[in-house]
């Protein structure tokens, strides 16, 4: 975009500036390029360290053991390295989180974009942004010290035996403690560290993400699609459910996938509230150790560089990285593939 100046006019003053300015531009362009390269270096660094250390790990631990061991005890005498122990924990916390975040987030998005007045939106959207900005360690505090006791009290309440008249004995869960009949629901006991509280609070923390991305998707549905439905005598709910949501579906699904990815990678909420006990299974009432919580546990300890436990955090990190990478790529691909269909 530079202008050629003729050299005959004796305007050497202009020319000197021009050359200097051009040199300056090239230097700046070079420096900015260096900055951009840093992002490439970051990716290379991440992939490089993960691959390197993971290979080192698999030199000592066979891959099939990584996949099939039923316990995760790399720091104990009898070492087992079953990654699915950690994955099952992440599955529990993230699964519960998604069950919370998708309904709350999507319905909130519908409320904000279809029902709420401008004044209400002006108040609610900043509130959701505040929720999004709260650090995860605060959520972890909340999950461990407030939500877990509340849930425990609630489940205790459900478990309390209730006296019933004898003719109700046909109901399930009734017991006879002389001389009266009681209804006693055998609800499982919620431990102090558990996946349920962590999952619930994790879900609340990613609700704003689902809400805002879904709202963008809903907002971009063209108005004449809605008009077509209203013109047929449809109510607002019918229009939203049958026309608007399907038209926005690619964006909504992408937001859910990104939310899953975020939940999987979350660390502090699960470290604080879900516990540090590797447990393979699907029970959310017990302490579990997620992939991220394991990395934190090792980092807090005195593990020396180069030892086997040290390498395990990279193997786990690699697993985590691959899972989130696949989810993120899938979300991008999903939007690109299905967006054309609806517009």
């Amino acid at each position: 975009m530079s202008v050629e100046m003729s050299s005959e006019n004796g305007s050497s003053l202009w020319q000197a500036n021009y050359k200097r300015a051009k040199r300056l531009e090239n230097i700046i362009k070079f420096l900015c390029g260096i900055c951009a390269i840093i992002s490439i270096a970051t990716t290379a660094g991440i992939i490089g360290t993960l691959i390197f250390e993971t290979i080192e790990f698999f030199k000592e631990v066979p891959f099939w053991r990584f996949l099939t061991d039923t316990r995760w005890t790399p720091l104990f005498q009898s070492k087992q390295f079953g990654i699915f122990v950690l994955i099952s924990a992440t599955l529990r916390t993230s699964g519960i989180a998604i069950l919370v975040a998708v309904p709350l987030g999507l319905l909130s998005a519908i409320f904000l974009s279809e029902f709420a007045s401008l004044r209400v939106r002006k108040v609610l959207k900043p509130l959701l942004e505040i929720l999004a900005g709260i650090p995860s360690v605060v959520f972890g505090y909340f999950a461990l010290l407030t939500v877990t006791p509340v849930l425990q009290a609630f489940f205790d309440f459900i478990r309390t035996p209730v006296m019933i008249p004898p003719w109700l004995d046909f109901l399930p869960f009734t017991n006879y403690y002389e001389p009266d009949y009681f209804l006693e629901i055998p609800f499982p006991y919620l431990q102090g560290f558990n996946a349920l509280s962590a999952g619930l609070v994790l879900g609340i923390s990613i609700t704003p993400l689902v809400a805002s991305l879904s709202e963008d998707a809903i907002y971009s549905v063209p108005q004449d699609l809605r008009a077509g439905a209203y013109a047929l005598g449809a109510t607002q709910r019918e229009t939203i459910l049958a026309v608007v949501i399907p038209a926005a579906l690619s964006g909504i699904v992408a937001s859910v996938i990104l939310a899953i990815s975020r939940a999987v990678g979350e660390t502090m909420i699960v470290t604080l509230a879900a516990g540090q006990n590797p447990h393979l299974g699907l029970n959310p009432f017990v302490p579990v150790m997620t992939m991220t919580a394991y990395i934190v546990q090792v980092s807090l300890g005195d593990t020396a560089v180069g030892t086997l436990p040290y390498k395990t955090i990279f193997a786990v990190g690699m697993t985590l990285f691959l899972i989130t990478l696949v989810l993120n790529i899938f979300s991008f691909w999903f939007v690109r593939r299905f967006r054309e269909r609806y517009e």
Partner: protein, 272 residues
């Protein structure tokens, strides 16, 4: 109210009286009086910005969807005021009105569903109790598109051409068996061949329905309609413009021997 002649009352599907439409504080259209006769095609013509579409959208209360729109006056659909005053205004239900007064839009807007579902959905939410397959076929035939899509009913409504999409929109409108069909410049986004097909369709549609069409295309209006309303705009003191009805009469009169000067100038191409 010069230049407006109306048919006898018992043949009237929709009767508009003293209609004024505001967007916010701006008067967009003033003093509209017209009667839409049953089983005929009434066309609204005029340069852009005179409120033709605005008036059309009042007939099925689609203007309710625009927050700043305010309607004054009375519109009678089959004898009943669809803009009642006072207490009845709050309780008025536009949903039922829109089943009986359907609409086709300027840009074809089929739903992101299959062709079958596009037609069936409106009937379904309105509680259609009969054979849905039959209704879908009947409606697609009525929109002169059955032969072209009968083998691809499960395909997306967006996978067909623009002209076909518009006929699909017509099919979905007639599936719920309205009495009146409003068409807001239905051919302006289409190619000439599709336009011709839809114009032919209109002549067959008016046997079962009453049609009101807004069009920019004068020739189309003269070809297709039985009665024509010519709208124009005049400048307001505030610097904006407000639309008004100049003349409304049989089509032959409007195009052959109009009573108003503006009408004569417009149809002879002197402006617009």
């Amino acid at each position: 109210m010069q230049g407006i002649s109306s048919p006898t009352k018992t043949d009237v599907a929709i009767s508009v009286e003293q209609l004024n439409v505001y967007y916010g504080s701006n008067l967009a259209v003033r003093d509209v009086y017209l009667d839409v006769p049953r089983h005929q095609i009434a066309a609204f013509i005029g340069p852009s910005g005179c409120g033709k579409s605005t008036v059309l959208r009042c007939l099925n209360r689609m203007n309710d969807l625009i927050a700043s729109a305010r309607v004054e006056g009375n519109i009678f659909f089959e004898g009943q005021n669809i803009y009642p005053a006072g207490e009845a205004a709050k309780k008025f239900d536009p949903v039922e009105l829109r089943r009986r007064v359907g609409m086709v839009f300027q840009k074809p807007n089929p739903f992101p569903k299959s062709i079958y579902e596009n037609v069936a959905w409106g009937a379904r939410i309105n509680g259609y109790k009969g054979n849905m397959d039959e209704l879908v076929e009947r409606s697609l035939r009525g929109a002169a598109i059955w032969d072209e899509v009968k083998d691809k009913l499960k395909q997306s409504g967006l996978s067909i051409s623009g002209g076909q999409q518009q006929r699909l929109c017509i099919a979905r409108a007639i599936a719920i068996e309205p009495e009146v069909i409003l068409m807001d410049e239905p051919c302006s986004a289409l190619d000439p061949i599709s336009t011709l097909k839809i114009e032919e369709l209109m002549s067959s549609l008016k046997e079962k329905f009453t049609i009101v069409i807004v069009t920019h295309n004068m020739q189309q209006a003269s070809r297709v309609s039985d009665r024509t309303a010519f709208f124009n705009a005049e400048a307001t003191d505030a610097g904006g413009k407000v639309g008004y009805l100049v003349e409304y009469d049989d089509t032959e009169v409007i195009f052959g021997n109009p009573k108003e000067k503006y009408t004569r100038d417009y149809v002879s191409g002197r402006f617009g």
